[in-house]
Subunit: 373 residues, 2 copies
């Protein structure tokens, strides 16, 4: 039986392990938090710091393969493990490019992959030389995650919020739609594309409302999404699961926003809605099985369950009963004991042939289910 390890024990690790239980594989997990969502679902839990060289190296050296559920891992240890024959998903060279937003943007540019214009800045003062670039988005090169490390700089007045560390200043695109394209690629370079996902934002609050798959996409944008995403993934020369986030602008042009080299929040619906989920697919890739079928069984919507504003402490779920009474929904509570504002605490998937029903129920779930203390 192969021994495969996961760095990080959050909800992605948890859903990976729920899926691993269908296959003959011995699972290992490293995480510093003993009570993380995934801790109780592996064969072997190892307490350790995924950013620490020795912890990661010691964890990985007896394994056949290792994967990540978050980018902020010690990549030097992964490089050494790879050199010693442990298979790493994604490959450390790909992770290195993606982890650093400056290298990531440069990678798109070097490979002629359409992406918003950008300049690299080292200090916040430098932004004064790029006022013509505004409105723009300032992204910290290293360490940003889940909305942290990103600032919208609309006018010179916003400059005090700029980062005083190596960052990318990106021209703002007029967004018609945000799309996520999840791609699976195996060790032989075979690929499978999931139907693209429409990430529906609340335009006033700039908050993700829900996600719908398959996305409703102008025909002339669809082939671009697929072609661009494939170019991104193939250029990274690494097997694994990748989520390419893209913008479609008001002229139906397509730009890459950013790429995640792992299972992704925008693919959670694939657990119930697609023949092979993104989690199942990663195990197929790591275990050397054939790629799965990415087709939909039924179209789906995902609603994220986020820690409510002003609520920090032991989590309590309000409206769960009402949501569980709905006919075609699937509830995933991640089991984090503590909630805080903005924390990802769970998600709900809705299945239906009717897009109207997906939208209606997604909205109803958003208005019904909340996390409080």
């Amino acid at each position: 039986m192969q021994k495969i390890g996961i760095l990080g024990g959050g909800q992605l690790g948890k859903m990976l392990l729920q899926s691993a239980a269908n296959y003959p594989v011995e699972t290992y997990l490293m995480e510093s938090d003993l009570e993380c969502p995934a801790a109780h679902l592996c064969h072997h839990f190892v307490k350790g710091d995924i950013r620490n060289f020795n912890d990661v190296y010691d964890f990985g050296k007896e394994l056949n393969a290792i994967t990540i559920e978050i980018e902020s891992v010690n990549e030097e240890a992964l490089e050494k493990l790879e050199a010693e024959g442990v298979k790493v998903y994604p490959r450390p060279a790909a992770l290195k490019i993606i982890k650093n937003k400056i290298l990531q943007k440069q990678y798109y540019k070097d490979n002629q992959i359409p992406t918003a214009d950008f300049v690299v800045t080292k200090t916040n003062n430098e932004l004064n030389n790029h006022l013509s670039f505004l409105p723009a988005v300032h992204k910290l090169g290293v360490g940003g995650y889940d909305g942290r490390g990103v600032e919208i700089i609309k006018t010179a007045e916003d400059l005090p919020r700029a980062f005083n560390e190596p960052s990318v200043l990106e021209k703002m695109v007029v967004i018609q739609k945000e799309i996520s394209q999840i791609i699976a690629i195996n060790a032989s370079g075979e690929v499978a594309l999931y139907p693209p996902v429409d990430m529906v934002f609340d335009k006033h609050l700039n908050l993700l409302e829900y996600q719908i798959s398959p996305a409703d996409i102008p025909e002339k944008a669809l082939w671009k999404i697929e072609a661009i995403s494939l170019a991104v993934v193939k250029g990274l020369k690494s097997p694994g699961i990748f989520a390419v986030e893209l913008f479609i602008d008001n002229k139906d042009e397509v730009y890459v926003n950013e790429t995640a080299p792992r299972v992704h929040n925008s693919g959670h619906h694939t657990i119930e809605a697609n023949y092979s989920s993104q989690f199942d697919m990663l195990w197929r890739i790591m275990l050397g099985y054939p790629l799965g079928n990415t087709e939909h069984i039924l179209p789906a919507a995902i609603v994220n369950l986020i820690g409510g504003d002003g609520h920090s402490g032991e989590a309590r779920y309000e409206g769960l009963h009402e949501v569980l009474q709905m006919d075609n929904v699937f509830v995933h509570i991640y089991g984090k004991k503590q909630t805080r504002p903005g924390r990802k605490m769970g998600h709900v998937t809705v299945l239906s042939k009717e897009k109207r029903e997906l939208e209606y129920k997604a909205n109803r779930i958003k208005n019904t289910l909340s996390v409080k203390v």
Copy 2:
């Protein structure tokens, strides 16, 4: 967070725990085998003998609720736990009736539930008084499981195989079809019926070929299946999941064969094929959530993966690659290290709108996938 325990760590325990991970619940598992399929998927594993009073009582006394994945548990301990306020699914009084085939048959008779005629025998010699009853099935009162404890007595020549312990001698029914009806019932007595499952047997070998849901049932038998199954379950006065196995004879009459007071092999397809699976449903019942939707997303077939004849030792799966290449199949390998002839090692679910495709693929899987050493 509620603390809920499972007695038994086989594949049913495993699939229960895969499903539990979607809800806020702290899971406990008792099993004597540290390497059983479910051992690594719970919050708290307790090594113990589920047939031992003290082990079960000590395991259960701090829990909010407890359930079983096999009938051969210590029911006296469960009775004491119930008396002390622990919720038990199924209730010990129901378990007691079902565990003993003599009491189970008597229960059907007392409640006017159609079932094959029977007599109770205490010794094998007694069968000589019931030769007019042959051909018949002799079932051991206590301790039978998975085909053990059942003998077909066609003629007087088969009498040496009869049991010399309290048993039931059942008249053989001319079977047109074998059906499994899974029913969920919650603490308020609300019920939800899954579509009945057609258990397709190889008539020559008397081996389960595969299972198809929903079953193709003569119209005048369908209401009988539902009515009879409901009568069985309601009379047991216990919340939980029940699988009622029935025969339809060649006159479309319906008889109860036997009942399992737990999640069941004939309901594994519900993981992918129904909105709320039998495993999800049991958690809903135990956590006090509303009952789920038992409807099909798509019709399904289940193929059981059974340890091959003449193969005992470390399990090896032949044909897995080919099966994983099929578009609409879901593989579940239970992770038992050792195989032996007849051991349940996994199952494969097929989804399709077309019954022909379900049958075709179920047969192809049967002919492709095997467990060897």
